[in-house]
Structure formats: structure tokens, C-alpha cells
Symmetry: D3
């Protein structure tokens, strides 16, 4: 039992030291940033799936359809990029070598989440955006667990 106590103590120590070497000067990390942009990707994907091209050749109907479509794709693209950026900040700056013990699938989790961001850009695919939301939720729980907190998962919409 002493062994266990020591080992758990040792596990905490390097983490605290790591915080001291933390390169993100502000030290404020929050997976909510990734969650908010992932929600936007999901929302844009649904809105894009609901759009229908005009029946005829009316210029003004095509203009409305194309203006909306173009803007929605651009927002989806930008927000998927933002989600990827926010996830990679957590992976490269927040998580430290000593976290690998608690989260042996750390690299794989982030790699797949980043690839899902790309997939949401390439396609208009609601199931991919839902997989992305699930990946961000997994990161949310890993992150707060590593901080010794258990913040619940809430979304804006």
C-alpha cells in the first residue's frame, strides 16, 4: 500500500514540474474552444444538407443558392480548421510525457480527431461531424480528468 501511495505521489510530482515548464505562457487551456467550433461544423453540415439547387435557370435563384452555399462551405472549412487547431494546442502544449501513463491512447485519440476535422472539410457528411463531436467529448473528459476535475459536457445548442 505504501508502494501505491508513493507511486501515485510520483505520478503527481512530474506533472506539477511539467506545469512549471509549460510553454503556453498563459497556462489557460479549455477544451470548450474546440467544442464550440466543432458544434459550428455540425450546424453548417446540417444546413448544407438542407439546401436544394433551384429548379430552373433563374439567375437570381441561383445567385441566392450559390451565395448561401459558398458561405456555408467557407464557415464549415474555417471552423473545422479551428477545431483542429484547438485540439492540437492541447496535444502539443498541454499534454506532457507524464500524461502518457494515464492516457496510453493519447496520440491516437488526437490523430484520429485531427483527421476527422479534415474529413468534415472534404465531405458534407453528418455522421463524420457526429464522430468529431464524440472525439471532442472524449478529449474534454481526458483533459478535465488530468486536472483532477470532472466538468460535465454541455453544448451551446
Amino acid at each position: 500500500m505504501l508502494r501505491l501511495a508513493i507511486s501515485s505521489l510520483l505520478k503527481r510530482l512530474p506533472a506539477q514540474k511539467a506545469l512549471a515548464h509549460c510553454d503556453g505562457p498563459c497556462g489557460v487551456y479549455d477544451p470548450a474552444s474546440a467544442r464550440i467550433s466543432a458544434e459550428a461544423v455540425l450546424s453548417m453540415t446540417k444546413k448544407l444538407l438542407a439546401l436544394t439547387p433551384p429548379e430552373g435557370k433563374d439567375s437570381s435563384e441561383w445567385a441566392t443558392y450559390n451565395n448561401t452555399f459558398s458561405r456555408f462551405v467557407a464557415v464549415k472549412e474555417e471552423q473545422a480548421q479551428e477545431t483542429k487547431k484547438e485540439l492540437l494546442i492541447l496535444w502539443t502544449d498541454y499534454f506532457k510525457p507524464e500524461h502518457l501513463a494515464s492516457f496510453p491512447d493519447l496520440h491516437d485519440t488526437f490523430w484520429k480527431a485531427a483527421k476527422l476535422c479534415s474529413a468534415c472539410k472534404v465531405n458534407i457528411d453528418q455522421s463524420k461531424t457526429e464522430e468529431l463531436m464524440a472525439a471532442v467529448e472524449k478529449v474534454h473528459h481526458m483533459f478535465w480528468k488530468s486536472k483532477g476535475r470532472s466538468d460535465s459536457w454541455t453544448t451551446a445548442s
Copy 2:
């Protein structure tokens, strides 16, 4: 009359003090920045309204139409965003509490102008872009009046 003179004197004093606390370190404000991008929004909107989708299914005609349409929407979007940004710099950094006496509709003017920028993004609507130009012209006159100048309104095109 003395009272009036003193009151007008007092009105000027806080404004000068305000300049000394000005947070925009360069202190160079010019509503021409908002005007130039609003002109671009107007120009793009007109050009978008003039585009017509191809009659048939020719890939290369559709490519030309879509390339031009996509770029024009992106420029309209970016320039409407730029107009909003430049307007909000004036509202948040240049205008000070003491200006509210001379311009009691200050907040409302900027709020509506900012919302017009958004409306020009959502739609391809020439009358909205003309309303935006009028809003920017109103800001131009408020701004130069607050500086004791009366620069005339000229556009690039």
C-alpha cells in the same frame, strides 16, 4: 451667453483629455478605411447580380461561372467583415463617453451599421449595400465633426 461659452468650452476639454488616454497607440483614425471596403462590397454585389449561370451542362462554362461566383462571394464576405471591423474600431477606440452628448444616437448608429455589414454578407442585395454606404457616410460626418473638421465625402469609384 457666458454660460453657453463655458459649456462649449467644457465639452471640448474632456475630449482633449480623452485623446491623451487614447488606447489606440497610433491615434490615427480615418473613416476612409471603412468607406473603401464598403465600396468594394457594393461593387461585388453589383457584379454578382450581373452573373448568369450557363444554359447547358458544359463543364468548362460551369467552371468559369462557379470560379467567378465563388471568388466574388469570398471578396464580398471579406470586405463586409473589414467594413464591420473598421467601424467597430471607431466605436470602441475612437469615440469616448464625452462624445455621447454630441451624438446621442452613437450606439444605435454603429449597431445598425454593423448589422448592415452582416446583411450584405447574408444576401446579394444592392439596396442593403446602398444603406451600408449611407451608414458609413453618416459615420464619416460624425467623425470629422467630432474632430472639428468638415472633410467632404468622396468615393474612389
Copy 3:
């Protein structure tokens, strides 16, 4: 009483219509974005206040001090700018004319909050950053109230 019921009904109707005209195509708004960057401003300000210039003329000590100082100021600047941007998105895109009835100090609240962002850039002033945090918390409560939710205020650090 019927009158009251109708009036409260009418109040809700325009709000729903407004959502339909919402210009932010994704419709995902969350004041957490402003809160996260405001926390970073507070953190950087505290860290800047804790830095001390080297005693002597040692180049390498000055290099360390200046490198850290320069980076911290840049992050404070960027995060204060981000806070302002996120607040103004809520003011210009989320809040609609019908919200003015419930929040008559809407414009004033956002104007002061935006000016606090600027003040946090100009100075290294912990009390200003705490005022900014309070302003963002006020916006948090206004926002969720307007959505009929009462999400509690939690911070990352």
C-alpha cells in the same frame, strides 16, 4: 392579465423570427470564447507583474527577461483583442433589437466591456483585468438568460 400574456407572447415571437434572419450562419454562439481569452489576459497580467528586470548588465539575463516580457505582452495583446472580437460578435450578430426591451443597458455593457479590453492592452493593471472578467461574466448571464437557460459561470483556472 390577458394583455400581459399577449405582450409576453409578442415579445417571444419577434425573437424567434430574428433567429430565422440570423446572419451568423452557424447560429452557434457561446460566451465561453470571450471568457477563455479574458482568463488568459488576467493570467498574463499577473505573470507580467511578477517579472523583475535583472540587477546588472548581464546580456544573457537581459535576453531572458526581454524574451519573456515581449512574449507575455504579445499574448496579453492578442488575447485582449480576441476577447473584444468575441464580445462584439455577440453584440453585432447575436443580440437583436427585440432584446433591448429585456436588456436596456445592452449597448452600454458591451461598449464598456470593449473599452476594458483596450485598457488591458494599454496597461499592466490587474484590477482592470478583474473588471474585464466581471464584464464578461455579466455578458455570460445576459446571454444565457436570453436563451432561457441559466448556465453557471465556471472558469478554466
Copy 4:
């Protein structure tokens, strides 16, 4: 004389054709953008020259000096970059081969102006920023002459 008339006619024709092929889709060019940022460079340079380092070792005095210095350098840098960008948009997008006849020193004017932007970044040198203002004024006159207008040169400060 007929020859001269024809040649001057021909000179105008390609210019008009060129406008039709103009790649800047909005077609709105205005040297005021370069002028506003060049004014900011001049303003920041003057403000930097007026700063003095603290006498002693007081941390808080050094913090104030360094915060202000760092921010002013960053704004000078950004605005000099912006001036260069706006000048190069005119050089690469607005001016066309047929303008070379009227402005044989076109390339040299822009090359030197761009290099002045860099010089204003490298140094805190008021005479360089005044040379930059003069270069931007020269571009202003070339530009409006090429459009058949003679807008006067006014500055914001």
C-alpha cells in the same frame, strides 16, 4: 498633329481594355489605405522616440516602459507591413503595362517605397518615415492622374 492625336487616343484605349481584364474583382483601388497606415508608422515612430527608460531598477516602472515600448514596436511593424501590402496591391494589380508609358519610373517608385517600409521596421528613424510619407504621396498623385482625377492630398492627423 493627327499622329499625336491618334497616339494619345491609342494610349487611352489599351488602358480601358486593361480595366476590363482587371484581376482585382472589386476594382476599388484607393491609395488612402496606404496613406493611413503610413501615418500610423510616422505616429508610432515619434511616440517611440519620446519614450525614456526608467532611471532605477523599479520593476513596475520597467514593466510600464517595456509594455508600452513592445506594443508600439508591434504596431509600427504591423502598419509598415500594411503600407507595403497596400502599395504592392496597386503595383501588381492596378497598374498595367500601358501605364509604363506615362510613368516610366513606376517600378523604381514602388521598389523604393517598399524598401522604405522595411527601413521603418528595422529602425526608429523619423526621417525614414517622412521619406515613406513622401513616397506614398507620390503614388497618390500617380494613381489619381492615371484615373484622370486630381484628388488633393489630405492626411488624418
Copy 5:
């Protein structure tokens, strides 16, 4: 022969002095940056030319076509802009007045290359992108010659 030796010596000297005054503080210039983005422009242009609009009115087929088309145009635009930016860094910051003797067509080369970047944005035109690649290759050889190296031209794809 002595004359030739001296002249070649003199040619080298100002160049070395110029490097000492170099305004790009890092002094690391590499035309590979322009080449990589020009390759991306070429690749996107080919991919855009290969896209065909759907035969019928199927919403989901149009969504796929439009999502892909919109993204490809945006990447072409961004990469053509990046190519222009990288070329102009070489023109305004790396090349110095003393290089004009060895490269009398320096200005013309960069002006035409910059205009080709714009042409690649306006059109979906493979021959223009190939002209751009040739222009970037010319710059590559000028650049390495000016450094006394003769790096061969290799592409990523």
C-alpha cells in the same frame, strides 16, 4: 584580366555589404516557398478542370460538386496569393540595388510573375499556371546565381 578580376571583386563586395543591411531580420530566403505554393495552384487548377457538374437536379450530387468546387477555388486563391507574397518578399527584401547590374530585367520579371499569380486566380487556366511555374523557376535560378550557388530545380510532385 586584372580589370576583370577587380570588377568581379567589386560586384561581390556591395552584395556582401547589402546582406549586412538586410532588413529581413532572419536573413533566410528560399524560393522553395514560392515554388511549393505555385505547385499547389497548378494542382488545384488541374483538379478543377476535371470536375463536372451533375447531370440532374439531385441535391446531394450538387452539394458534393459545389463543396468540392468551392474548396478547390478557395485553395487555388490562397495559394496564388501565397505565391505572390513569397515572390514579393524576394523582390522587396532580398534583392538590392546592386543586383540590378546582374539582372537588368529584375523588376519586369517580378511584375510579370506577380501578375501571373493574379491571372491564375481570375481564371481556371492550366497554361497560365504553367507560365507561373516557369516564372518561379526563372526566379529560382536568379536567386541562387546571386548567392553564388547553382541549386537544381526540383518539385514536390
Copy 6:
């Protein structure tokens, strides 16, 4: 032996399929982008180490020192960020699950390289920048090996 041949064949097949699903629409990847910015980080670090603060209290000497120091730190910061961004594009978009067989240390290599980018921001430490150059060189060799090429490692300076 047949088994080996088939297995090596299978290894190649998914890789080709993967390219077809590649999310980076242009498909142009080149580790030279990461190398160029890493060289800039190394160069700025050396230049920062060579700077010395003024002996006395002369405002203008301090202004020169601070202007140069501030700019060099900003460029170091920006280029380290750029290096990280370019590395992570390779990790998240270019490398596919089937590459893990050939490069079992793929994740670890990129994680450490990304963390080195951060370390080069936090410190002015030449040995860290040299470790970063080595990490980028390792990525260079992994990348070209995965493409079946063996491009040699050359630097710009």
C-alpha cells in the same frame, strides 16, 4: 518469399488508396516549408544571443536595442509557430494509418518536434534550435522515404 512479396504489395496498396482519399485537396506536401522556418528560428536565436543591452541610460541606445530585440523575438515566435504548423500538416494530413508500419515512432517524432517548436519560443537557446533542425531533418527523410524518393537535405543558409 511469396508471403513477403504479397505483404509488401499489400503495404503499398492501402497507401495508394489513401492518397486518393487525401484531404489536402492540392496533394502538394513538402517538408521544405518546415525546414525554411526552422532555419529562421535558428538564425533569430543566434542574432538574439549576439545582442547586448546598452551600458548607460541613453534613451536612443535603449530604443535601438529594444526595437531590434522586440522584432527578433516576434520573428522567432512567428517562425517557430510556422514550423509547428507545417509539421502538423504533415502529421495530420499527409501521413496515413498505413505509414505506421514503416514508421512506428511517427507520433512520438512529431510530438517531440512540436514540443521543440514551443521550447524555442519559451527560450533563447541555440541547442534547442539545433535539436529542432535535427527533428525537421528526420521528418524530411521519413517523408521522402514514404514517397519512394531520397531527396538530399540542403539548407538555404
